[in-house]
């Protein structure tokens, strides 16, 4: 059984595997971008806080 057949129970039948793969990869990329941007900002604030408190 191929992946295409396996995922054909989802909406869009024989194209389900491809459509949801494309949407899934995009969603993961966008979420990663957003979370890493937020996390980097927090990290920068923490490291600057530490730097100032050492003075």
């Amino acid at each position: 059984m191929t992946m295409v057949e396996y995922f054909s129970f989802l909406p869009y039948g024989k194209y389900a595997f491809y459509v949801w793969l494309a949407y899934g990869v995009s969603a993961i990329t966008v979420i990663t971008l957003f979370v890493s941007a937020k996390r980097n900002h927090k990290k920068a604030i923490i490291s600057l806080k530490n730097k100032y408190s050492r003075k």
Binding site: Y12, V19, L21, A22, Y23, V25, S26, A37, I45
Partner: protein
């Protein structure tokens, strides 16, 4: 006008503007995304040739347009930084690069996943695909060149020149489907493209959502970059010590 620009481009004001704009980018992004997805996945009918497989278009086309738009913004902001020495333009250019690269990757991956059922191949060395791949390499070259210098001003100068030279690739990507006989289908936007009004609405909604996403990510990333660049100034110390975590 000039005074206003100068005021806006002072790091402190720029930082505050980014902070206040963030919710104005975030919520429209979520709104347009949800309505866009609803229109793309439920309202829009299946295509007469490609069935439901065509639905990849709603992420493929917006991300491909954004990959080129972000590159243009990056090169123009870099140029503004070079000519008028506006530091905040350099910041916008620098933080745009990874976002643009991500849009390029989404365009390439969604295109490959779309190509498999329609063409029978994940990848072909077609003019459109190859020029878009070169765009990804340009982004990666820009990012690594920018990281190669310790001084952020020198880094901005060198990488901006690279970005401006790389602009020549944008018309090549855009016209590649016209200039060469390609496997890639023609324009989806404009004459001869999508004809169903629901499909057009879905594509427009997803495109607007992508623009808000880009603006949102620039606002967040630019703030981080400004904090690091201006870490020796008084206002950053105040900002950081007052920041709640």
């Amino acid at each position: 006008m000039w005074k206003w620009i100068q005021r806006q481009s002072s790091p402190k004001i720029f930082y505050q503007t980014c902070t206040s704009l963030t919710p104005w980018f975030f919520w429209p992004f979520i709104g347009f995304l949800l309505v866009g997805l609803y229109w793309a996945l439920i309202v829009s009918p299946a295509d007469y040739q490609q069935g439901d497989g065509y639905r990849i278009i709603f992420i493929h086309v917006p991300s491909a347009i954004l990959s080129m738009m972000v590159y243009a913004i990056m090169a123009i902001a870099g140029g503004i930084g070079l000519i008028w020495q506006i530091k905040m333009a350099e910041v916008v250019a620098k933080v745009s690069a990874p976002i643009g690269a991500a849009f390029t990757i989404i365009a390439l991956v969604s295109g490959a996943v779309w190509g498999k059922p329609m063409w029978g191949a994940w990848w072909v060395w077609d003019a459109r695909l190859t020029s878009e791949l070169i765009l990804l390499f340009l982004y990666l070259a820009y990012i690594s060149l920018n990281n190669a210098f310790d001084n952020p001003r020198t880094a901005a100068k060198a990488s901006s020149i690279l970005a401006i030279v790389g602009l020549v690739n944008l018309p090549i990507i855009h016209y590649s489907v016209k200039w060469w006989n390609t496997l890639h289908q023609g324009y989806s936007v404009g004459t001869g493209g999508l004809k169903d009004p629901d499909m057009q609405i879905a594509l427009a909604l997803m495109f607007v959502a992508s623009i808000f996403l880009y603006a949102l990510l620039v606002a967040i990333k630019a703030k981080t970059e400004v904090l690091i660049r201006e870490q020796n100034s008084r206002w950053v110390q105040d900002e950081v010590s007052g920041a709640a975590l």
